[in-house]
């Protein structure tokens, strides 16, 4: 990574924070629990990083693979559990 890339990433980070404020303040209190579990599932995007750690060639040592494996398990739990439970809750709000 060079300095330019870092500044780009930082810009992305800061703009996303502002976007987050705009988006989240529009969610009504009724949906705050599904919002939490839904954003929780999104934070499981660390799975992308976990996959790279678990399977990358620079991490051919056992320690790395095991840490990567743990990261994959936890992130997948986060993603699958989060989206499914959010879907279950939201389905209840939808029906009439």
């Amino acid at each position: 990574m060079d300095m330019n890339t870092l500044v780009m990433l930082l810009a992305l980070f800061v703009l996303s924070l502002f976007l987050g404020v705009e988006l989240i303040t529009k969610v009504p209190p009724t949906l705050h629990t599904p919002l939490m579990s839904g954003t929780n599932a999104i934070s499981g995007i660390t799975l992308v990083g976990a996959l790279l750690a678990a399977g990358s060639d620079s991490s051919s040592t056992a320690v790395n693979n095991i840490l990567g494996f743990v990261a994959v398990v936890l992130a997948t739990l986060n993603v699958v559990g989060g989206y499914l439970v959010t879907n279950r809750m939201l389905a209840m709000f939808k029906r009439k």
Binding site: L17, G20, P28, L35, S37, G49, G55, V79, V80, F93
Partner: protein, 475 residues
């Protein structure tokens, strides 16, 4: 796969996450929003699997299979009343994952195989300021990830009632401050001496302990704040992990989740009229003139039986139901819905008054009542329902206490003075369904219970509501 293509697909995934959260803005579009966000996740994961740097798939397949199975089972089995625990533990998994990624990355950087380029051997994290930033990103991810991991597990244990007492570190906030200081000094030292693995161990241990002792003293009604805050941490840890890996989608998704958790934290704090520091380190009943329960209740509390309440309900034109954590405890949401049905069949208008911190997490009551098929249009927020209590014939409080305490509005000496409450006392008649006169989380007596127009119905919430419904139905 070409790196440009990978990044473009990550961009598409980020857009899907944004549209997904936007969809959560309305109950009608929320299911679709969640599916869009899941689709974003799917494409981000698939494109990563084609990344050139991934060479072995054994650990990946094993991890994905185990995580998916366990995740699906708990998501399908969990009861709606247990949703706060569920969210707490999912936060912990997210934090743990970021922690493991950062540790793996650190290990890879400090165990470069012999024969690698000389410059890589000399400065494994990169040259000058870039190396410094790489080390900082790794150590901060470890710090936040570890705090989130243990903090969430303690929150889970408390919500699941595996742990009933509130423990604190000697010195309270000072002890926590020292732990944070140790961790931050180790982060600083690591920036100077990046290859010193002892420092990483110090950061990990201090942060794990910090998460533990940060949440251990917090309980009960303060839990919504803790869960929202940990939710935010899990996002921030993800965003920092994105800086380690130079991964755009991690940064966007992580910061969205981070802000979401922070905004919910703020909403919860405002709804309790307390600062975040006060929730995390303070005591609810801090100073002020406390009134004894005898002074408030002495001889003034009236009780009623379910059939007497049913008689009052017969002539009511407008009824407002005020649910609290007690409704979740008693699993009374379905009974409450049936009472609503019978009342509506008789032509009575029924609405629900939802305080922002009712229950153990933001929106807890809404989810329970949605499960019982109460239409969400009937769940009215505090600001909108408060002016209507004066035209309400009967307010039924079930399992709520502090959020209805008029002392918060009237008694300047009260520790909860200034906390926004539901103006239940303004209703013509108030029915309080409660096991006993025991105080709520704030430990204060509630003058509402002793008012002239208030009747207490003692007993199990679900049973009491069912009895009212039966009596009313046969009237």
């Amino acid at each position: 796969m070409n790196i440009t293509v990978v990044n473009l697909i990550y961009l598409a995934a980020a857009v899907l996450f944004i549209l997904g959260i936007k969809g959560l803005g309305k109950p009608k579009t929320a299911v679709r929003g969640n599916l869009m966000s899941a689709a974003g996740m799917f494409i981000a994961v698939v494109v990563t699997l084609f990344d050139r740097s991934i060479v072995s798939y054994e650990y990946i397949i094993a991890g994905v299979v185990i995580g998916s199975l366990v995740g699906a089972i708990i998501a399908i089995k969990v009861q709606m009343t247990s949703m706060p625990q569920m969210v707490a533990i999912l936060n912990g998994f997210g934090g743990g994952s970021s922690l493991a990624i950062a540790l793996a990355e650190y290990y890879a950087k400090t165990h470069i195989p012999a024969g690698a380029a000389a410059e890589l051997m000399a400065a494994p994290f990169g040259d000058g300021i870039m190396g410094l930033i790489a080390v900082l990103a790794i150590s901060l991810t470890i710090l936040i990830g570890a705090v989130t991991l243990t903090g969430s597990f303690v929150a889970f244990a408390k919500l699941q009632e595996l742990m009933k007492k509130d423990y604190g570190l000697p010195g309270g906030p000072v002890g926590n401050g020292l732990l944070l200081l140790v961790a931050l000094v180790a982060v600083g030292a690591l920036c100077v001496e990046p290859t010193n693995a002892t420092l990483i161990t110090v950061i990990v241990i201090a942060a794990l302990l910090l998460g533990l002792f940060l949440v251990l003293p917090i309980g009960g009604a303060d839990m919504p704040v803790v869960i929202a805050l940990l939710n935010s941490y899990s996002g921030i840890a993800g965003a920092f992990a994105g800086f380690i890996l130079g991964n755009t989608v991690l940064i966007v998704a992580g910061s969205l989740v981070g802000t979401s958790g922070l905004i919910l934290t703020k909403i919860m704090c405002v709804a309790m009229n307390r600062s975040l520091a006060n929730v995390l380190f303070g005591k609810m009943a801090g100073g002020g003139v406390t009134v004894s329960a005898d002074e408030v209740y002495g001889g003034k509390v009236k009780s009623a039986q379910a059939d007497e309440v049913a008689m009052m309900l017969e002539t009511a034109k407008r009824v407002v139901i005020v649910p609290g954590f007690g409704m979740a405890m008693a699993q009374a949401q379905h009974a409450v819905r049936e009472l609503m049905d019978v009342l509506e069949a008789r032509g009575t208008e029924v609405e629900f008054a939802i305080h922002p911190v009712a229950g153990r997490m933001p929106g807890h009551m809404n989810v329970l009542l949605a499960e019982a098929e109460v239409p969400y249009e009937k769940l009215i927020e505090m600001e909108r329902i408060n002016p209507t209590f004066e035209e309400t014939d009967i307010a039924i409080v079930i399992g709520a206490n502090d959020v209805t305490n008029p002392m918060a509005r009237e008694d300047k000496g009260s520790p909860i003075y200034g906390m926004p409450i539901l103006n239940v006392d303004k209703a013509k008649t108030v029915i309080v369904v409660k096991r006993s006169l025991s105080p709520g989380f704030a430990g204060l007596p509630n003058p509402l219970f002793a008012m002239d127009h208030t009747y207490m119905v003692y007993g199990d919430g679900k049973k009491a509501i069912i009895e009212m419904t039966t009596a009313l139905g046969s009237a």
